[in-house]
Symmetry: C2
Subunit: 278 residues, 2 copies
């Protein structure tokens, strides 16, 4: 069975390595618009061969679409046009509504499975890929009733091979709302905190002070700001409305905290902290 | 040489374990207002003996004051009243201005060294203490010109033994302003994010969805919200003005991001992310 990976970055690369580790699939073929990533992917054993997209579509029994979400939305319909009738195609995008919407009325919609394996690190590219990225992490399958039973079954096999926990019964619309809070908002928070400290410590002397005083608290709260803007801008655009809603709820929470502090309502600051345990 | 540790939690416990690992000091004596912590500290080999505060003050060549910052501010003057003329006392509080101010005119001010070893984990208590907590981390010594040279020298020995990097030339006032951005603000951010997701996923079904979708991004951004309110409320109170300033700068950064997204100014969202690299 040939597995075709479109997009040989962190996510596509890690899926490939995870499957190969368990001897799932026979030949792994791939394509990436970034020539350097493609070369690395072969060198790292992520895929056996780089082949043109059109050939990959025809030669694969399973296609994994792991490129930025705007790219997925753009090419998914045309890939569906061309795939064999028994091929399964799944995507790994961090937003699902726009992608599902782009093929909602497509005659081959049932060959497509909309998934979101919730795992990642702040680094990107095939050199960051590793076979255990998804181990015991969660994976959401959206709008599963629109996919053919055999396509769902194949998707389950793929993610179970990597020991992911599968989550069903979620529409792409619900997914995007929830993930705005759980993943996209933390990224915005991290970018904004990095931006804040860069504003505060901007000259050479302040920069030195900053480097002398940085501790693990700031490091973990700004980790996500190292994420690749090429991946994240399309996510923010696609989930814009939900994300703005989440940012507003969060802004309100920060303002409540600030005002309690301002008003010296320390008993309530204490309760705020005690209640904020997840 | 007897080392006296007042406050046998994460910080005091880790200093003690770090020093003992390198055979620094002879007998370690301690006190803690929490009876359970005191018992654990002996069981864990953090101190040899629990003795009353008054005895600890008289028997120690070095006193390490590692209790919440409001407690330090309160008892430091009376400890200074009672110490021997050759004893060194240092504190480990996360704010420094109020503490330094409380003994500014004290006749024995020079026996005190104001330090902030910048390390910590979200867990607290002696059971979380470990000998490597401070390894290669930064430690600020504030207002060092107000401490006697031999007191500074002893402090340097203590922190160097644990392989900390020492930072000088900072007033307690400067320290509090910088640390508001570097440490206290990330804590507020983390509490507010936890609070936001708890608001969004509040009923049983939503809670289940939340647990199914949580990923490492949210986990690292809310790690600090697990911190002990008993430690952090006094820090926020003591550094209230600087922290309010830092929160306002940060709120502005979040609002800028939200408005760019709202206005579909995606080119600037991209630039915002690219510039937010620390």
């Amino acid at each position: 069975m040939n597995i075709g990976i479109i997009g040989l970055g962190l996510i596509g690369g890690s899926i490939s390595l995870g499957l190969r580790k368990s001897n799932f699939g026979d030949k792994f073929i791939g394509t990436d618009s970034n020539h350097k990533n493609a070369t690395h992917a072969v060198e790292l054993g992520i895929v056996d061969e780089i082949i043109p997209l059109q050939d990959l579509i025809l030669q694969s029994s399973v296609i994994i679409l792991s490129i930025p979400v705007d790219g997925i939305e753009k090419i998914l319909p045309s890939i569906l046009n061309k795939i064999r009738s028994d091929t399964v195609i799944l995507d790994t995008g961090s937003t699902k509504y726009d992608i599902c919407n782009s093929v909602f009325s497509h005659p081959k919609r049932s060959r497509f499975v909309a998934t979101h394996p919730i795992a990642g690190v702040e680094n990107s590219g095939p050199t960051s890929a590793h076979s255990d990225l998804f181990y015991k992490k969660n994976c959401v399958i959206c709008d599963s009733e629109l996919s053919a039973p055999d396509a769902i079954e194949m998707t389950e096999k793929i993610y179970s091979t990597m020991k992911m926990r599968l989550i069903y019964n979620m529409t792409s619309k619900e997914h995007d709302l929830y993930i705005a809070y759980i993943s996209h908002l933390p990224h915005v928070i991290s970018f904004a905190l990095s931006s804040t400290v860069l504003k505060k410590f901007k000259n050479e002397n302040e920069e030195k002070i900053f480097n002398n005083m940085i501790g693990s608290g700031l490091t973990s709260t700004t980790r996500l700001a190292k994420s690749n803007p090429e991946t994240w801008l399309p996510i923010f655009i696609s989930n814009r409305n939900n994300l703005i809603q989440a940012i507003n709820v969060y802004l309100n929470q920060i303002e409540i905290f600030r005002d309690l502090l301002k008003n010296k309502d320390f008993h309530k600051v204490d309760r705020y902290m005690k209640n904020a345990k997840i």
